[in-house]
Amino acid sequence: MTHADVLVIGAGPAGLAAVAELARLGLTSLLVEQRDQVGGAIYRRHAGNGNHVLLLPEHHRRRRDGLMQAYTQAQERVTALTASVFIGVDRDGRFLIDNRRLGRVQSVRSKAVILAVGTVERVLPREGWELPGVVSAGGMQVQFKETGQTPKGKILLAGSGPLLLALAAQLAAAGNPPLAVLERAQPLASAWWQGRAVFNVLRSWPHVQEAALYGRELWRARVPYLTGWQVQSVQTVADGLRIDARHSSGLARQYAVQHLALHDGVLPNMTGLPGAAQSADNCIVYAGDCREVLGADAAIDDGSRAAQQVARFLGQRCDSTPLDQAIAAAQRTQAALAQLFQAAPVAPTANTVVCRCEGLRRSDFDRLQVAGSAHELRLVGRFAMGACQGRFCAHTVSALAHEYGVDFDPAALNGDVPRWPLRPVSLAALAAYSELESVE
């Protein structure tokens, strides 16, 4: 039943595009998705009745609908395992999957694998960022898509990047505009001297339309977009959160809210995954944002391209030149946006929780004067050793280690021993382990 040509992990835009393209090329796939439904965070569906006001650019909607249609047409050649969490690869190259529907860990062997597991949102630690009520902007957005309701009470958005604008506009359109968007960078000011970056963003008509759509909504709802501002600290108070913000000029301001959404960009989600590889009898390809963060539309193209790469590995002929060109254009736009949103990092204060999983603060790091290597920082200090496996803290730990002259390379965290994406797996599911039929 599960015999398939290709194993695809993740059913977001890249994974869905990959299985649809594989089906078009006559190949079958096994699609593994941690949620109960496909679409990923970006195409999360509204659960429940009633209207959902979701402000979305038209081109984005069109590509989503096209992808879903292609996926529906591919059904005959796709076996989807939903509510199934990818938990790692064993030393024999078996991909392990916690099938939570069956309550059983299953393994799959496959000659060809496409990993499409998306991004990790970057959130720089500030004092109080670990408190309940503080979420990542992506986390707030995906929950809003699912419930169709904005969080109740006052909201503040802070950090850096275009996602803050998109989320602010979506919240405003749905009736609960944030008090403000605090942007650390100075994208408007830097536009004056980053002419080339501006030109490269303007070359992408969909991005111009998208910016206009969000800009119009923020203007209508009178949401202040404050650049050069950053959150210094968050405290829990009787009726929510008290937020101290500071401008680069030294000006300070306080906000009283119930919800704070933070966002400092996105990174590929690669921690603990096997590297991309291709040999005579084995092919592992990354697709979408987990290969390179280029956004949902480019992830669709990248998923199709990964499928074509695998098809070539399996002996088919196909040409990826048009997709290469589309992805190159997305790279140009993303590089230009990154330039406009360039900002100095937030330096954690002594009391700032650096490593949330292990509950470690900056002061714990400074106390660790004996740690002379990345290895000691982890084994003695416990930094980047918790459940998220450094996904959220490794870059900050790296910056702190650098101050002490220690090289702590987030990319090298894996070392020789693969550190799998740590997920809770019940003993009962492990005890019920079974091998799925091999994927050849």
Partner: protein, 98 residues
């Protein structure tokens, strides 16, 4: 009041009933009910919904006393009994094990 709010589906968070809609995650229902704190975590911190896609592992909860799952990925089901993933006596305080 919205029609969908009157649908009589409930689970229990620390024995208190929380309404949810079919197809909604545990985290979404808890958020709509105004519960952002999902119990003790290490070093005196608190569990909470954060990334929404299973990567941060900060929203783990226990269903019917069993091993933990991510509240942000797991669908709410009628009659579930949910509790913090970490027993409060296991939540270390800073420096306790140093």
């Amino acid at each position: 009041m919205n029609m969908s709010d009157t649908v009589a589906l409930h689970f229990y968070w620390c024995s208190e009933p929380v309404p949810f809609r079919a197809g909604e995650t545990i985290a979404a229902a808890l958020q709509r009910a105004g519960r952002t704190d999902v119990g003790p975590a290490v070093a005196g911190l608190h569990g909470r919904y954060f990334c929404g896609i299973g990567t941060c592992q900060a929203c783990l909860v226990s269903i019917d006393g069993a091993s933990p799952v991510e509240a942000c990925l797991t669908l709410a089901q009628e009659g579930m009994h949910l509790a913090p993933a970490l027993l409060s006596q296991l939540a270390r305080t800073p420096g306790a094990d140093a």
